[in-house]
């Protein structure tokens, strides 16, 4: 594992914007004084006249993007997840979601892996907020390959999209050449029959690692990557529940309102199945190195293994 390439999905975001920008004149980018951190600066450097800094004014930025989208442009509006989904929630709800405008919200620094900045900047509520908006697509890519594919898919899709990217460099485990991405489609990374582990974002790689350890312990775990949290790949989740009988969800997000609850809501109606939700347990984060925080909050392969063993023992 030592020589695995690691890239933060925010970097993938900036690179994908630059690549798309070269091909599509109607793509423009807005940022709110965080271009260096959200990596829209990568696009800005290539296309300075198509990148518009809105200053520290996220509410204005979202509505400006809505206005630009109404003119036929495809704006990507970026800030940290906390200030995009959080601060500008009502702007997204009323001026992007309600009119179903073609605005792409590129939210970086999602989850507690923001690290040292602490709880004020560690957004663990964005899936919940964005999922509640009718017609909003919500995605959280797991690695560099998937993140760039998700940005491309978001551009091609007509309608509002919320993309969550991370600050922390994470392992690249998808093969660029063979990878195919489709909004709303989950990806089975490993087949299994004892328990299905459904993960999103950086937890996907942890789930894959957990799957390996579980196999050694004699537990056959199905590992599913759900990059698209909304619309959820219902068929794939229900199939996993039917065939495995036990579900574990993993997300770098509050257990309130995120992937776990989306899966529970689906299964309670379509296929009641025991579910364990791994996520941030309805509490705020705090400052610290990202890796240590992830471990402390149980967002790790080790914790997934523990939960899976416990669930399978029952």
């Amino acid at each position: 594992m030592a020589d695995v390439k690691k890239i933060a999905t925010r970097d993938s975001y900036g690179n994908a914007l630059k690549e798309l920008g070269a091909r599509h004149e109607n793509l423009i980018v807005f940022d709110a004084d965080l271009a260096g951190a959200t990596k829209t600066a990568t696009f800005q450097k290539a296309f300075p006249t198509r990148h518009f800094d809105c200053g520290i004014a996220e509410a204005d930025m979202i509505d400006v993007a809505a206005g630009a989208a109404s003119m036929g442009l495809v704006p990507f509006a970026s800030s940290f997840a906390m200030f995009a989904a959080g601060r500008a929630f009502e702007q997204i709800r009323n001026s992007v979601g309600y009119p179903h405008l073609n605005v792409k919200i590129g939210a970086t620094h999602g989850g507690i892996s923001v690290g040292e900045d602490g709880a004020s900047h560690q957004c663990c509520e964005d899936f919940a907020l964005m999922r509640a908006i009718p017609g909003m697509v919500v995605m959280c890519p797991s690695d560099d390959v998937e993140a760039r594919a998700a940005v491309l898919a978001a551009y091609e899709y007509v309608g509002p999209v919320y993309l969550r990217f991370g600050r922390l460099a994470v392992p690249v485990f998808h093969e660029e050449e063979t990878f195919r991405f489709q909004i709303g489609k989950g990806e089975t990374l490993q087949d299994g029959t004892d328990v299905a582990i459904l993960a999103t974002g950086l937890m996907v790689n942890e789930a894959v690692e957990a799957g390996k350890a579980l196999r050694e312990a004699g537990i056959s775990a199905r590992i599913i990557n759900l990059c698209t949290i909304k619309p959820l790949d219902e068929a794939l989740v229900v199939k996993a529940a039917r065939e495995c009988g036990k579900i574990i969800t993993c997300e770098e997000h509050s257990i309130v309102g995120g992937l776990g609850e989306a899966v529970c809501a689906l299964l309670s109606e379509k296929c009641p199945t025991p579910v364990r939700r791994i996520g941030v347990n309805d509490e705020f984060g705090h400052s610290g190195p990202a890796a240590a925080l992830l471990k402390q909050f149980g967002l790790s392969a080790e914790h997934i293994v523990e939960v899976a063993k416990d669930l399978c023992a029952k």
Binding site: A59, G67, M71, P99
Partner: protein, 281 residues
């Protein structure tokens, strides 16, 4: 402006006001006060100023109008109906289930509505985004946004003003309907936005101060807006809330209340008399 042109605008404004009364009466809800204060502006915009095509409401090169004070939709709807975007009878379906005339403007339902609004402070940012996009696309269309004076209390409005000046949006014309009243009383007592023109100038706007019920002043202000280069333009218009319906004038209570049957009759009688007077001029 010729006398005849002015007469036509006065008649149009009167018809817009009647549409406001008809709509809110039929809806048994809605916001007549601010719709009436801006009725002359609605009439002027749709009868004279905006380059729009009722036969082709989504015409790409059209001028855009964003009703940032979205609650005064009854006035906008009446002006759109008068301009021919949809039948005037539709006004009677305002706020009814199944109607395209929602309580606040919906760009996907109502022909001629350029932006969905209603949550104060957001429309002006969207208008700035449209103006920026028009420049980027090389379109020579103009963008107009109408704000309430109470709406200036929303911090986002000032973010948008900063943005408009920063990006030199001289294709953007902001209009402030200074009727002086909001739900809880006078804007001055609730949370004073004054002095409005000075604040706008400090934010880099070229500003015209006019009587919002005077078409000559309106014409001069819009002409100045169009010839202004490099900075955004703002028209601060003094108006009377509830204008031309005697019992509604300058009454904060008529911000968001519909006339009952008796009040409806009285308002229509007054407006009909006013229309007859204008037509006899």
């Amino acid at each position: 402006m010729t006398t005849n042109e002015k007469k036509q605008l006065m008649a149009a404004a009167c018809i817009v006001r009647m549409g406001v009364i008809k709509g809110t009466h039929a809806a048994k809800a809605g916001h007549p006060g601010g719709s009436l204060s801006a009725a002359d502006l609605f009439a002027y915009l749709y009868e004279k100023e905006l380059r729009v095509d009722p036969q082709n409401p989504k015409w790409e090169e059209r001028d855009r109008f964003v009703l940032s004070k979205g609650h005064t939709a009854p006035g906008l709807y009446a002006a759109l109906a008068l301009r021919g975007f949809f039948p005037e009878e539709d006004l009677l379906t305002l706020r009814h289930i199944g109607s395209h005339l929602q309580g606040h403007p919906n760009m996907n339902l109502t022909p001629g509505v350029d932006m969905s609004t209603g949550s104060l402070g957001q429309g002006i940012s969207a208008a700035a985004g449209m103006a920026l996009a028009a420049k980027y696309q090389g379109k020579d269309c103009r963008v107009y946004a109408l704000l309430g004076d109470g709406e200036l209390q929303e911090g986002q409005v000032w973010e948008a003003f900063m943005f408009a000046h920063h990006y030199r949006l001289d294709n953007l014309c902001v209009i402030i309907d200074n009727n002086g009243l909001q739900i809880d009383g006078s804007v001055e007592k609730v949370m004073s936005p004054y002095p409005i023109p000075e604040k706008l100038r400090a934010f880099g706007f070229e500003v015209a101060e006019i009587d919002g019920h005077d078409f000559d002043q309106m014409e001069a202000a819009f002409a100045k807006a169009k010839s202004t280069r490099d900075v955004p333009f703002a028209i601060v218009m003094k108006t009377v809330k509830g204008k031309d319906v005697s019992y509604m004038e300058n009454q904060a209570g008529w911000h968001g209340k519909a006339p009952n049957d008796e009040e409806y009759e009285l308002a229509m009688k007054e407006l009909s008399a006013h229309l007859a007077e204008v037509e006899g001029m």
